[in-house]
């Protein structure tokens, strides 16, 4: 087996700036997205994910410009997510240089959109974001549901069944984020990662909760993830991507060093 597991640094971008870690380090601003992307590329990142968390609509143009600037100098796969609702949105992002788009809320409100997008642009560029929260009590068999609006709004959808459905509809990859763990630095929710990874044939990216390098290892070994996504542990120089990759390789995981 020589296919490498991937490390994907994630840039949460608000009004043109990378943000994250406000809860933990008291730092709000992690820099210019183009600079940050360039740094991760130099550190041998396997892909980059750019999540536009800007609430306002008028900042769309800024995102396209950022994506275009990153794509002009960073020659690794670039996934862009955040507020994607139409094939026109996808077309504009791909034209700007994105390689994949991550569809979140729109997949829940209109699953046919995932089907239409994958038919039109190919499954290889359609990532569906699965934002899951554990809903079972301790002692019960574990169960997770899909939540939208940053984990505030329940949908009643079972996360594993929903993941299967999204793959049937044409998702080429799933970005599984634990809304319980996101921002906690306690590690991935390995249960949901494993349950979804075992249930689908497409690659799964584990996300939400990474606080140290052992969490990345566990995401692959116990969670069965094909790729691991993290933000804050890289943004402030705590670890470089290279260190993380070397650490994972030392634990016997196939990596691109």
């Amino acid at each position: 087996m020589t296919l490498a597991k991937r490390i994907i640094p994630c840039l949460d971008v608000d009004r043109g700036r990378v943000v994250k870690g406000v809860n933990f380090l008291g730092i709000r601003d992690a820099g210019d997205p183009v600079e940050v992307a360039r740094r991760y590329n130099e550190q041998n990142a396997d892909e980059i994910t750019f999540l536009d968390i800007t609430a306002s609509h008028e900042a769309r143009g800024t995102t396209l410009d950022m994506v275009s600037r990153i794509a002009g100098e960073v020659f690794i796969p670039l996934t862009v997510g955040g507020g994607i609702r139409s094939c026109d949105n996808i077309r504009a992002l791909l034209n700007a240089g994105a390689d994949k788009v991550s569809i979140n809320t729109a997949a829940v409100t209109d699953p046919d959109f995932v089907y239409e997008a994958s038919q039109r642009f190919g499954s290889q560029c359609i990532v569906v974001a699965i934002d899951a929260k554990r809903v079972s009590e301790d002692g019960e068999p574990p169960r997770w549901e899909i939540f939208t609006h940053g984990g505030r709004k329940p949908t009643g959808l079972d996360a594993v069944a929903w993941s299967r459905k999204m793959v049937e509809y044409g998702a080429g990859e799933l970005l599984v984020t634990s809304m319980d763990r996101d921002g906690t630095r306690e590690g991935f929710d390995l249960g949901v990662t494993r349950a979804i990874s075992d249930a689908v044939s497409v690659p799964v990216i584990a996300s939400g909760g990474v606080g140290n390098l052992d969490h990345l290892v566990a995401g692959v070994k116990e969670g069965g993830a094909d790729a691991v996504l993290a933000a804050s542990i890289f943004h402030f120089g705590e670890y470089t991507i290279e260190q993380a990759k070397q650490y994972m390789a030392d634990q016997g995981i196939e990596m691109r060093l």
Partner: protein
């Protein structure tokens, strides 16, 4: 000198254009479906994404099938096939219930087994997505400066198996199959992986393509 990226409506051509512009700032890179512009270019890229039936269908609909076949015969004009652009050069693909392709190289296109397990008993995912090793099977000017076993970025579920060993320029093993991820004949070189997304190794391959005089 102009490098034409054939735009027959399938897939994202901007990444390829940006990467070629990056390695050859002096060349003109154009994304086009204009037959005259493609004929006039000194080098041509045949990309392809999505389902092969759609790719072959769109090539036909944009009336470029004949032109591409003509270009393939021109042993002085380098052509680079990428992803489904590699698969289209073969006789046929088993995707979409069987699709006849351009027939430039004998061989077939089949699907990876999505039931295969790795050494740890984990299911191997299809599409084959991510960075895998490419082993160089024959010497070729496009391998110049790239080590055998170097990793490139892949996203695909179907793969090429060339009938003629002389056409198999490089291979990758995945899910129990040996995929000929680089194929070549005369002035044509084609890859299953995405050089435009494969960091330094990919940029080197593109630079080699721009410098190649077969």
């Amino acid at each position: 000198m102009t490098i034409a990226i054939i735009d027959y409506g399938m897939g994202n051509l901007h990444s390829v254009a940006k990467a070629i512009e990056h390695v050859s700032p002096d060349e003109r890179v154009t994304i086009t479906r204009d037959a005259r512009a493609i004929k006039g270019a000194s080098r041509v890229v045949l990309p392809g994404q999505g389902a092969i039936r759609d790719c072959m269908g769109e090539l036909e609909r944009t009336e470029l099938t004949g032109l591409v076949k003509e270009l393939l015969k021109d042993a002085s004009k380098p052509l680079l096939g990428i992803c489904v652009g590699q698969q289209m050069l073969m006789d046929k693909s088993e995707e979409n219930g069987g699709v006849r392709c351009l027939g430039y190289m004998p061989g077939r296109v089949t699907r990876f087994n999505d039931q295969a397990l790795d050494e740890q008993g984990q299911r191997l995912k299809v599409p084959h997505m991510g960075w895998n090793r490419v082993h160089q099977h024959h010497m070729h000017p496009l391998w110049e400066g790239i080590l055998t076993g170097e990793r490139f970025y892949f996203v695909h579920s179907y793969f090429v198996q060339a009938e003629d060993d002389a056409h198999a320029m490089g291979y990758t093993d995945y899910a129990g199959s040996r995929a000929h991820v680089a194929t070549g004949r005369d002035a044509v070189f084609a890859v299953q992986f995405h050089p435009e997304k494969s960091a330094e190794a990919g940029l080197r391959l593109l630079a080699n393509f721009v410098a190649w005089s077969p």
